[in-house]
């Protein structure tokens, strides 16, 4: 029998619209703002340098988010926990770094090898501090709840996020604290076609990209990476493979924390301001980025972080900073509508 084609449930034009939307809707959504603004710029200013500057700012800001988001998504992927404390671990990393600058005598005048060496040392310290802190939180607040209802660790995470914020508050007070500008973050490094690239931009991008490549390779290739993925997907089966699930989870928190620490340092260098509350915002953005890209997917988290960076800068520049969070979230909702499992999320067989 000839295969009858699909019964017409909808009139043809509607169907075409739907099909078009489902395949290109996402792209339309993502490009809407830049394209609209680009056209506007061409009309009013005659060139695209304003847009290009926005996008560059977005890229560097987004790189910082991406760094926070990778650590977030790693932990998220493995224990399926919305880790509200992650942002605070990142904040502590920033504080440690900012505090250490003074300790080892880095000043705005330090340059060249001294600066590089000092920063590397700080990096190690910040990563260690945040890594250990994160592992400790896991041990104290999440591990005892391994068999509890899935949402129970969410509350301990919130609890720890409060505790750490309080630590930050006691440490550096309630206002934003300006710290020394070691890398002359806002100083122009070079300028192409009216796009001004600053030291901060270069730093953020140059640190993020290698780290992302490294992490992706690590998760895909290394034994620990494999163990992490297996544990994430089915802990009992992972045990049957000879994987020590507790150790793996600890290691994941360690790595996640270390990434947060690295991000903390970059953030401190890039913004030259630290604040006890910075982790809350960063955590929320990292969560958003992780989900936008597809939970547990590292490249997705990076993509999510960058997209958020772009949206934020475009919106700050054109629409108004007070609306920026709302616009970021509106974008998120639209992306979720078109890609329910995130931009790079994997769909698995659901039926049967």
């Amino acid at each position: 029998m000839a295969a009858a084609s699909l019964p017409a449930a909808q009139p043809a034009p509607l169907r075409a619209v739907r099909r078009f939307l489902s395949s290109y809707g996402l792209i339309l959504v993502l490009l809407a703002m830049p394209v609209a603004f680009g056209i506007q710029d061409l009309r009013t200013e005659g060139d695209l340098s304003r847009l290009a500057n926005n996008l560059l700012d977005g890229l560097s800001n987004g790189s910082v988010w991406a760094l926070v988001a990778i650590g977030y998504t790693l932990v998220y992927g493995i224990v399926e926990l919305i880790n509200f404390a992650h942002g605070e671990v990142f904040m502590i990393g920033s504080f440690v770094a900012a505090g250490f600058f003074g300790t080892i005598g880095l000043t705005a005048a330090t340059g060249g090898a001294g600066l590089v060496l000092g920063l590397l040392l700080t990096l190690v310290l910040a990563m260690l501090a945040s890594g250990v802190l994160n592992t400790m939180i896991e041990r104290v607040a999440y591990r005892p709840l391994r068999n509890a209802p899935k949402l129970a660790p969410l509350i301990t995470a919130v609890g720890f996020s409060f505790i750490l914020q309080n630590v930050g508050l006691l440490w550096r007070g309630g206002s934003q604290q300006s710290i020394i500008d070691l890398v002359k973050s806002q100083k122009e490094l070079f300028n192409v076609f009216g796009v001004s690239v600053t030291n901060g931009d270069a730093l953020a991008v140059c640190v993020t990209i290698p780290l992302v490549l490294l992490m992706t390779a690590f998760i895909a290739k290394s034994r620990l990476g494999k163990a992490m993925r297996a544990t994430a997907q089915d802990p009992d089966a992972a045990r049957l493979m000879g994987i020590n699930v507790d150790t793996t989870i600890s290691a994941t928190f360690m790595i996640g924390g270390m990434l947060a620490g690295a991000a903390g340092l970059i953030y401190a260098l890039y913004q030259t301001t630290v604040w006890y509350f910075q982790g809350f915002t960063a955590g929320l953005i990292a969560f958003t980025a992780a989900v936008m890209g597809g939970i547990g997917n590292i490249r997705g988290a990076v993509l999510g972080g960058l997209i958020i960076g772009f949206i934020q800068q475009l919106s700050d520049n054109r629409i108004g900073t007070q609306w920026t969070p709302a616009i970021v979230f509106a974008y998120l909702v639209m992306i979720m509508v078109f890609k329910p499992s995130g931009l790079l999320g994997e769909e698995t067989r659901e039926a049967g």
Partner: protein
Amino acid sequence: MSPEQENILEAHGVTKQFGGLTAVNDVSFAIPQGSIVSLIGPNGAGKTTFFNILTGLYKPTLGRVAFSGKNITAGRPDKIMALGVARTFQNIRLFGTMTAIENVMVGQHARMKAGLFGSIFRPPWVRGEEQRVRAKAAETLEYVGLRSGVHDQLATNLSYGDQRRVEIARALASEPRLLLLDEPTAGMNAQESESLTRFMQKLRDDFGLSILLIEHDMRVVMGVSEHVTVLDHGEKISEGEPQAVRSDPQVVEAYLGKQEAERQRAEQEGAV
């Protein structure tokens, strides 16, 4: 199968592709009213996929499905269920934190009327409905052979075999006209499989239920079905009466294996 018998389900040219893989390829198929029909084939032949198309979980790439004359292609699963098509799952999908009896009560969702306000104010008719549904669920569980002692246990706490029974009960309780069973005897021993075979026949005889069965246990397939369709690589490779299909060389080659065919033959002869 007499020609004047009405078909309760007809599928025409159903095709389903996943990316580059064609899981079901242009399969046409019919289930006569009140009959038991089996769908067999090697692993990955597309049987479960076909089920998922019939029940609305997958949208076929091509093709059309009609249930008692109504087009249900890519219809909403819950609507298809409400029309009278109930199913079980190959990988058992019970509601883990519900008790066995509650699971079966959910199966009757489409047959109940209480809405939001009915549920809140619980007028007498809603009370009556609840009682009826609960009683029916208990009865169905007994019917599939689940001891009353475990009716109030959570589904996750049941053993594999018992979970299968609850699943069948859950499907049955909705009083379907067509029952789709995906490897119902997996995880059951020979005796249990046999009683399930008899049970299917009884369902058909008592309630005029039509059954579509996916099964790898040839003893069950041979024992119960009036008609067998064989899929391989998504295509229909053979179809007909069980005996005929069983000796179809293509089926032996792709699915049964020489040894199994041999054994079947021996058994058959022994039994006669």
